[in-house]
């Protein structure tokens, strides 16, 4: 099955090198959605993600002569789009204004199960991890973004209390600033952050739970 895909790509690649428009559009249809998905994980809006995808395709066209086929065409294209998206995302992140808000409370709902930490009177590591999180870094992007993972996150968000849902959707999905969200939802900055904190903590915990089940 893989051979067929590779061969089809090899043929498309040859046609693309010859400047075949139809081959280009076939590749756009084939890998475009995945490229957009990758881009969307790094940048804040659909419009910027579209720009990143376009830049990436130009990068592909410019790099065609240098592409030696050591990786698959798909991997190569994804690496290009991921790099562009990452660069763009980092630039965006740096431009996010720092808010000058005080610390907040929210002790009643711990972000992580207290049983995963050493007791406060532990002689060596008081309050240190006793069951630390497993690394996600080794997980391939495809698995992190697999349909099942996405479904997990949707379910995790859907079961949050409504206020937490609103805040996480506006902050993390729509990419709004903390100030904008506080204003839109009529929350104090501190409450806005407590809601986001609880929401993110639960989504992470659900994902962790899911990934551990898959690994096992």
């Amino acid at each position: 099955m893989d051979d067929v895909i590779v061969d089809a790509d090899a043929e498309l690649l040859a046609r693309l090198r010859a400047g075949d428009e139809e081959a280009f559009m076939t590749l756009v249809d084939k890998y475009g959605p995945l490229m957009l998905r990758i881009a969307l994980t790094h940048v804040r809006t659909r419009a910027v993600a579209e720009e990143v995808v376009q830049e990436a395709w130009l990068g592909v066209l410019q790099g065609l002569d240098r592409f030696e086929g050591r990786s698959s065409l798909k991997t190569w294209i994804l690496r290009i789009v991921a790099n562009r998206a990452r660069t763009r995302g980092e630039r965006e992140a740096r431009s996010v204004p720092l808010s000058s808000l005080g610390p907040d409370a929210g002790e009643d709902e711990p972000a992580v199960d207290p049983d995963r930490f050493m007791p406060a009177d532990h002689p060596m590591y008081p309050g240190g991890w006793s069951i630390p999180p497993h690394s996600w870094a080794r997980m391939p992007e495809e698995k992190l973004l697999a349909a099942e993972s996405l479904q997990q996150v949707r379910a995790a968000i859907a079961k949050l209390p409504p206020r937490q849902q609103e805040v996480i959707v506006l902050r993390d999905v729509e990419g709004w600033d903390p100030e904008e969200v506080s204003q839109a939802l009529e929350l104090s900055p501190g409450n806005q952050r407590v809601l986001l904190h609880r929401a993110r903590s639960k989504v992470r915990a659900d994902l962790e739970h899911y990934f551990e089940g898959v690994e096992a």
Binding site: E21, V53, Q54, L98, P103, F117, W129, R154
Partner: protein
Amino acid sequence: MTAQGPIIPGGISCRELVELVTAYLDGALDSETSGRMQAHLQLCPPCTEYVDQIRASARIAVVATAELELRPDRDALLSAFREFKAR
């Protein structure tokens, strides 16, 4: 390393740190707490992993909720291709 009493990097325990992550990522901590948090993260891989996972979860949430047809703008790409060829 020999045991010489409790080890609490940056003076913040891991259990405390996980509650500060959101404020930290928003740049909303005072500079002293933020500095202590950074000191802790430098010495503590599990907490660094935790912060990465919070970031990753936010990233995945974007994709997960983008239920719209994820098709890039074909027309724009086609004209970009033609432009590229014409160069």
